[in-house]
Each structure stands twice: as structure tokens, then as C-alpha cells.
């Protein structure tokens, strides 16, 4: 039984992996970068000073909102941290009759409060938020479709991992085996090494990823128990009762004193604040504990009277299942992780990207040897081969171009933030064209080499053109900029190294598969994740 079961799972592993491998690669790469979401938010705005006193930023945010939106329906203020660019505040104007409620996140109702407590005038950019959103919303397509596609890919991934475990019987022995220069065997060993190395991570991240989208992907349990799903969400995400504006003006309490009180009561730092009906006698302030201070992604909250500062309400304790779900989402997002653990997340994510990439390439390497004429493969084979180049080498190229666009696009440009993102996709499109027009062996070299140059030269540009280059940042002790630039250098070098390996073997078609075998197996890092 065990033997046939294992063989059956090999087929499942291959097909579930191939079917959505390209989507998975994009999701893995952007998710890996998104572990540095806040850091990238700051790195992509190098003109901003580092936040040293979060409370000064908070006081500034309150001052700014009191001047800008004194009678808003609500304010939302995140607490700045040393790695964040500042406090990105939002406000919601009073709804006008007959007008649909405004979406949060509109540009004209938000502002970035910098380290000095004043609204910061910086380049327009989505920063790390782009990678975070792309990880599950993709881009240029309706969000719900994208989430179904990503969710479906994640389900396939879960199946691929489980069947992969079954398939590799000697999984741990395989892990310590690396046969260089053995063509398909090298590929398999590389795939196994990156997969097994971070296997608990892959399993965790895939399952918890499904949990983050569970309301969309698996709504049937809710349907079985509720006719109105808002009742469930009221239970799962309890909130203090909404307040009505009384019309009597009253000054809002100093939010800093409430933060101090909330931090002792919550037993952890406050992450964000929302204020309902500011400036009114009925004003209400809600303090949420920071997700960085706890494992669960469903932080407890406290509601205060906005005028007297009296504690009115605290969120009830979560039940076991709800806490489990919240903890899984927390594990997935890794917001709780300190810098060291965040690096481990990042490296595991990189290994995951490599696992997907090597698995995809292995599909072609394995089949090439069985082709009747390896020099002239059939159409389907060529499609997979070229899509592999376009995605695995092309998307990182696009990311490199986007980071350059972040530095080079003029500051006053209209829709600048959008154009940074368009740059990524235009470059990716170009890479796609290259991979269609040229032989895969040649386009691997060209695209990987170009990506290596782009990533490797960016830190040099930062040194010349910004005041947060490697040396300057090191002198300032601003480790975030040091870390990102060094990572870019390492990834740039890795891409170049890989490109050179591929180029060397290009002249010997018989050994081509072997050459690309080392393409991924040689350097431990490949994806441009900063």
C-alpha cells in the first residue's frame, strides 16, 4: 500500500504544483518582501527622518487632525514606530445625505505625519504596502477574483506540500544530499533542500494563508449557522457601541495620556487609535493593542470617553477557536516577530520562492530528457519553459525597475505612486517579450544579469544621490537603510553569479539542463526581496 500510495502522490504533486506555480511564485516573492512592509514604507521615502519619539508624532497627529478635520465622523491614527515612516492618519468626513459613504484610504482624506509631528511632504509612493497588497490582491484585476485565484493557488500549494512529503520517502536523508553537476538529480536535490529546510514554515504559511482568506474561501460553516453573517462578525470582532453626534462641542482629551493608561491595562504597546465624533461631547476614543506586541492578529481594545478620558468598555476575551484563527493569521503575517525572527521569516520565504522556482524548472528539466528530440520540443513544453523564464526571471526584474522608479521618478509627477507600479509591470512585460523572442538559455542570462545589475547598483545610487546611503546610514546608526541596501547588494551579486553560471554552459546544449540546475542551487538566495 505505502509504495503505491507514494507513487500516486507523485502525480498529484507534479500537477498541483505546475498548475498554479507561477501564481505561487509571485505570491511567495511579494509575501517575502512584505515581511519588511513597514521598513520598505520608510526606505522608499528616504527624505524622511527616523521616528525617535512616537508620542511626539501622536501629539502632532492630533494637532493636525484638529486643524484639518475638526468635525469629522472619525479619525484613525496609527502609533509610529522606529521602523515606520511616521503615522499615516486617515479621517472620514461626516456623511452627506444621499451620498455613498466614502471609502477609507482616499488620498484627500489622509496624511503622513513625520517624526517632527508635522505633515510630511514626501514623494508619493505606495512603498511596502504595494508588496503587501499584491501578495493577496494582485494588481489590475478585481480584488475578489484575485483573492480567489490566490486562495486556489494556496489550496494547491497545501496539496502539493502534503503530497510532496509523501512522495519524498527519504526526505531527511535527501536533505543532506547534494549531487552537483548531475542534471536532474541536482535540481531535485535543490528543490528538496529548499523545501525541507523550511518545511514547517511552508506548511504553516500555506495553511495560515488560507485561514486569512477563510471568510471568502470557505463561507459554508457560516451559512450553516447564520442567516445574517454580520451577527457572526459582531461576536468575533466586538466593538463598543457606536456614538451619535450630540452637537455640543467639547475638547478632545490629550490622546497621549490615554495611550499611557491603555498600555498598562492592555499589558502591551498601543498600535492604533480610532476617534469617533472628535470635538463633540459624545466623542469616543478606542485604543487597539499593537499586533507587534502579541501573537494573535486580533488585538484586544479599550474604549474611552473622548472628553473625560474615562474607561467605558473593554473587548471581551476571545474563545478558543477564534483565538486559534487569530493566532494563525498572526503567525502568517509575522507582525509579532522582532528583527531577528523577521529575518528568519524572510529567509524561509526566500527558500519558499526558490522551492517553487526550482520545482517549476524541474518540470522542464525532467521532461527534456524524455523528449524524442530534446533540440525541438513540442509546443506545450516550450510554453512552460518560456513562461518559467518570463516569471522567475522577469518578475524580479520588474521589482528591480520599480525600486529604481521609486528613486528616479520626479517628485511632483502626477500619479507618481501609480507609475512606480506601472514601471514594474512594463518591465515585466518587456521581460515577457524577451523570453518569447529569444532562446530560453539566452533570455535566462539576459534577464537574470539585468536584474543583478539593477539591484546591485541601487545601493551605489543611494550613496551618491540620497543622504541615506550605506555609509551615511551606518554613521547615523540607521540600520534599516543599511540592512535594505546590503540585502540589495547580496541579491544583486547572487543574480549576477547565477547569470554567469548559466552563460558558461550555454554553448553546450547537452549540458544545458545541468547548467540551469546550478542556476538556483548554487546561491542560497535568489529572489530580490529586500
Amino acid at each position: 500500500m505505502s509504495r503505491s500510495f507514494r507513487q500516486s502522490q507523485a502525480g498529484l504533486h507534479t500537477w498541483s504544483g505546475l498548475l498554479l506555480g507561477w501564481v505561487l511564485f509571485l505570491v511567495f516573492v511579494t509575501g517575502t518582501v512584505a515581511f519588511w512592509r513597514e521598513g520598505m514604507n520608510r526606505w522608499m521615502r528616504p527624505e524622511l527622518a527616523r521616528v525617535e519619539q512616537p508620542m511626539q508624532v501622536l501629539a502632532g497627529a492630533q494637532r493636525f487632525l484638529q486643524g484639518k478635520a475638526p468635525d469629522a465622523k472619525s479619525w484613525f491614527i496609527p502609533i509610529a514606530t522606529e521602523s515606520s515612516p511616521g503615522a499615516q492618519v486617515f479621517w472620514q468626513p461626516q456623511p452627506k445625505e444621499g451620498e455613498a459613504p466614502r471609502r477609507r484610504g482616499r488620498r484627500d482624506t489622509q496624511a503622513l505625519i513625520g517624526a517632527d509631528g508635522l505633515p510630511a511632504l514626501v514623494r508619493e509612493t505606495r512603498g511596502g504596502e504595494f508588496f503587501y497588497r499584491f501578495h493577496f490582491d494582485l494588481h489590475y484585476m478585481p480584488v475578489i477574483w484575485a483573492r480567489w485565484l490566490v486562495g486556489f493557488a494556496a489550496m494547491m500549494m497545501l496539496v502539493a506540500i502534503l503530497s510532496g512529503i509523501v512522495t519524498h520517502k527519504k526526505i531527511f536523508r535527501d536533505f543532506f544530499t547534494f549531487r552537483r553537476k548531475k542534471g536532474q538529480r541536482s535540481w531535485l536535490d535543490g528543490h528538496n533542500a529548499t523545501a525541507v529546510l523550511a518545511l514547517p514554515f511552508h506548511l504553516m504559511i500555506t495553511y495560515t494563508g488560507l485561514v486569512t482568506l477563510m471568510a471568502l474561501l470557505m463561507p459554508w460553516a457560516v451559512v450553516a449557522n447564520y442567516t445574517d453573517e454580520t451577527k457572526l462578525f459582531e461576536t468575533l470582532f466586538p466593538q463598543a457601541e457606536a456614538v451619535e453626534r450630540s452637537g455640543k462641542p467639547a475638547p478632545l482629551v490629550d490622546l497621549r495620556t490615554l495611550v499611557r493608561d491603555a498600555e498598562t491595562r492592555l499589558g502591551g504597546t498601543v498600535g492604533s487609535i480610532s476617534v469617533s465624533e472628535p470635538g463633540d461631547a459624545s466623542a469616543r476614543v478606542t485604543m487597539y493593542r499593537a499586533p507587534s506586541s502579541m501573537l494573535s492578529s486580533r488585538p484586544p481594545s479599550l474604549a474611552y470617553d473622548g472628553v473625560s478620558g474615562r474607561l467605558l468598555w473593554q473587548s471581551p476575551v476571545h474563545g478558543a477557536a477564534s483565538l486559534t484563527a487569530g493566532t494563525m493569521i498572526g503567525l502568517h503575517a509575522g507582525r509579532y516577530a522582532d528583527t531577528l525572527l523577521r529575518w528568519i521569516y524572510f529567509l524561509c520565504g526566500t527558500a519558499g520562492s526558490l522551492m517553487v522556482a526550482s520545482g517549476m524548472v524541474m518540470w522542464t528539466v525532467k521532461r527534456r530528457e524524455k523528449l524524442p528530440d530534446p533540440e525541438d520540443p513540442h509546443f506545450g513544453f516550450r510554453v512552460v519553459e518560456r513562461l518559467n523564464v518570463a516569471t522567475i526571471a522577469g518578475f524580479p526584474l520588474g521589482m528591480g525597475c520599480m525600486l529604481w522608479a521609486n528613486r528616479l521618478l520626479p517628485v511632483g509627477m502626477a500619479d507618481r505612486a501609480e507609475w512606480e507600479i506601472h514601471t514594474l509591470f512594463l518591465a515585466w512585460l518587456a521581460a515577457f517579450a524577451v523570453s518569447l523572442l529569444r532562446r530560453p538559455a539566452a533570455s535566462w542570462v539576459a534577464l537574470l544579469g539585468a536584474t543583478g545589475l539593477l539591484l546591485g547598483l541601487l545601493p551605489l545610487y543611494n550613496m551618491i544621490a540620497t543622504d541615506k546611503g550605506l555609509v551615511a546610514a551606518l554613521a547615523l546608526g540607521d540600520l534599516l537603510f543599511v540592512g535594505v541596501d546590503l540585502t540589495l547588494l547580496v541579491f544583486g551579486a547572487a543574480f549576477l553569479l547565477v547569470a554567469r553560471r548559466v552563460a558558461r554552459f550555454r554553448t553546450e546544449p547537452r549540458r544545458e539542463g545541468r547548467a540551469r540546475g546550478k542556476r538556483i542551487a548554487a546561491p542560497a538566495v535568489l529572489e530580490p526581496a529586500e
Partner: protein, 85 residues
């Protein structure tokens, strides 16, 4: 045949089991609902693996359908007997 069993059918089986479990798991309603959803993803993956492990594609369809019917029956009886919030 196996692909049919592995893709739409395993999701369908997981869905009806999510409904059945949401009805029968003990504890508060919201808790049972969340727990059932968490378990459903595992059911989906295991069902897909089974679809490829089964002796034949037809057998996979047959077994998974039966498993789904059983859950559907539980869910239907429970909803007919009790009520939804």
C-alpha cells in the same frame, strides 16, 4: 476523472463537512463556526490526496460523493430541526 475528484469534488466535500461540523461541534455558535472552517481546509487537502490515491478515478468520485452526502444529511437534518441565527 481524478482531476474532477481532486478539484471541485474535494472542495464540495470540505464545504458540506464545514456545514455539518458547524452544526454539531459543541460550544458557542461563533466558536463552532470558526472551528469548522479551520478544519474544512484540512478536509479539502486530504480529499484531494485521496482522489489520487484511490484505486480508480471512479472509485474516488464514488467515495468522496458518499462522504459528502453523509455530511449534507447531517447538516440538513440539523438545520431542519434547529434554526439559524
Amino acid at each position: 476523472m481524478r482531476l474532477l475528484a481532486a478539484l471541485p469534488l474535494s472542495y464540495a466535500v470540505a464545504s458540506v463537512w464545514a456545514m455539518a461540523l458547524a452544526r454539531v461541534l459543541p460550544g458557542a455558535l461563533a466558536e463552532a463556526t470558526v472551528a469548522a472552517t479551520l478544519i474544512a481546509f484540512v478536509i479539502c487537502a486530504v480529499a484531494a490526496m485521496y482522489a489520487y490515491a484511490a484505486r480508480s478515478g471512479w472509485r474516488a468520485v464514488w467515495v468522496l460523493s458518499t462522504a459528502g452526502m453523509a455530511a449534507a444529511l447531517i447538516a440538513w437534518l440539523s438545520i431542519a430541526a434547529g434554526s439559524r441565527l
